[in-house]
């Protein structure tokens, strides 16, 4: 599998749509190619078929669990074992891209649309799961990062967490406000992206 093919198939992999041979080739390439890992990690734009997302805004409820289960199954391990960093990075990027796609659909739509509370909850659950896994990966990488770097990361995380708390409280008071829903998702996206970058600092070669 070439680098170009891998990047074009990233979202299909996440959804389990690749056949076993292609999925194995995808994993083998990603594990050996730091350029692809970096490209997946750096990409923030919607993946090619995100443009085709339904305007009914139904974010996939099983994105990250599906990736985690699939990786664990392929490696013959139970799902709770920490997934490899490339899978975490890929999942973070896919989640960000998909939620960005959802937000983009909302923002570019000429008709006012509400982001349903249920959809926000589903996105929050996914972000929370990815965030938890990335926090675990960051803890593993802590010994390879200087105390100053960890302090910087933690300071930035505190700023994001404060913003997340504030917007969540506002959303709880006004659950039908789509602008607040977008802000909650944006804060989660910032948090997951920061955790992904922080984890990469401790593991990139």
């Amino acid at each position: 599998m070439t680098c170009q093919e891998l990047r074009a198939r990233a979202d299909a992999y996440a959804r389990g749509e690749l056949d076993p041979a292609d999925a194995a080739a995808f994993e083998a390439h990603l594990e050996s190619c730091s350029a692809c890992e970096a490209a997946l990690s750096a990409s923030d734009g919607p993946l090619p078929d995100v443009a085709g997302l339904s305007r009914s805004i139904e974010p996939a409820a099983d994105l990250w669990p599906a990736i985690r289960e699939r990786v664990a199954a392929r490696r013959g391990r139970s799902a709770w074992i920490a997934p490899p960093r490339w899978a975490l990075a890929a999942a973070a990027v896919l989640l960000i891209a998909l939620s960005s796609g959802v937000t983009a659909v909302l923002l570019t739509s000429r008709e006012p649309r509400a982001m349903a509370t249920g959809n926000i909850s589903a996105l929050e659950a996914q972000y929370s799961a990815v965030s938890e896994d990335l926090t675990g990966a960051l803890e593993q990488a802590r010994s390879r990062l200087s105390p100053e770097t960890m302090a910087t990361i933690e300071r930035n995380l505190r700023i994001i967490d404060a913003a997340l708390d504030e917007t969540r409280q506002a959303l709880a008071r006004d659950p039908a406000n789509p602008a607040l829903g977008q802000m909650v998702v944006a804060a989660w996206r910032q948090k997951v992206d920061l955790l992904r970058r922080a984890t990469a600092l401790g593991t990139e070669t």
């Binding site: 923002l107 390879r144 913003a163 602008a179 802000m183 970058r197």
Partner: protein, 296 residues
């Protein structure tokens, strides 16, 4: 007595003598992929019209050892250290590469400067500053705490900071810039598509937006100031949940401050309106920051 007089000079000469001077050159393809690694010190990259990489620099004692290898379509070079911490003796590298090369650069606290490039650059740092000038196809720059400064018309720029400031000058194509607490400042912009986002930093954009282009700005608590041409043809979509919105493009008053109008969003629900034919799209969202749309 003689030894006593010479001691300061000896102390000065000893470390200088141990400093490793670098001067290496290898042939490479004009669009080669090149990895450059120097955690502490500085990395200066200059694009040139030759099919080769030329490296000069210095490595003080304790800063690690220089390595370089590759040929044809790929090469890597840098300073190998025993530990991956960002403190330590600074090594300096000046690297000349083919303009159209694809570069991957890693720093921790080292400053990175790149100029004269037209290819692709991906650069990550912890708290070192990153400065890029030129017209590259793709720039990806990430620094957790350092400033990121990009000047020139990049086709695609993906810039991610933390506490440092992101500065864009003359941005044209597709730009994504995000920080946590750092400011985002863009001057002389004429973007096709931009997403500028920060949590608590401020955002200032001075320039225009292409017809059919999109400028999408978001903050949590930082203030947003957009300075746009008064005759811009755009559809505006402005929302601040708990901050004020000041719009100063359409008033008839003369002089700064006289033509500005305070818009009052209801519970953060966005206010939408068009100017001209509404060709470009300008979206601003803030939780509690002030939004100001002003003339240049």
């Amino acid at each position: 007595m003689r030894l006593h007089r010479c001691l300061p000079a000896l102390l000065l000469v000893a470390p200088l003598a141990a400093q490793q001077k670098i001067e290496r050159r290898i042939a490479i393809a004009p669009d080669a992929s090149i990895r450059i690694h120097n955690l502490v010190g500085s990395i200066r990259i200059i694009g040139w019209d030759r099919d080769s990489i030329a490296v000069t620099g210095s490595v003080p004692p304790g800063a690690g050892s220089f390595y370089m290898g590759g040929a044809g379509r790929g090469a890597k070079l840098g300073i190998e250290r025993q530990d991956e911490v960002k403190q330590g003796q600074p090594a300096t590298l000046e690297v000349r590469v083919p303009r159209n090369a694809r570069l991957w650069v890693k720093s921790a606290s080292a400053t990175v400067e790149a100029s004269g490039l037209t290819g692709e650059l991906e650069c990550s740092s912890v708290d070192g500053s990153i400065r890029v000038e030129g017209s590259l196809r793709l720039v990806i720059a990430e620094s957790m705490e350092g400033n990121i400064n990009v000047a020139g018309a990049m086709s695609v720029a993906r810039l991610k900071g933390g506490g440092g400031t992101i500065t864009l000058r003359g941005a044209r194509g597709d730009v994504l810039a995000t920080t946590v607490g750092g400011a985002i400042v863009a001057t002389d912009g004429a973007i096709t598509r931009a997403h500028l986002e920060t949590v608590s930093g401020t955002i200032a954009y001075d320039g225009t937006v292409s017809p059919r282009g999109t400028l999408d700005v978001a903050t949590h608590s930082g203030d947003v100031t957009l300075r746009l041409p008064p005759d811009i043809s755009a559809e505006f979509d402005l929302g601040s949940f708990d901050g004020s919105i000041l719009y100063g493009l359409s008033g008839k008053g003369e002089g700064k401050g006289k033509s500005e109008e305070a818009l009052k969003p209801f519970r953060g629900k966005p206010i939408s309106f068009s100017t001209g034919a509404g060709e470009a799209r300008i979206i601003v969202r803030s939780f509690k920051g002030e939004i100001r749309i002003l003339k240049p």
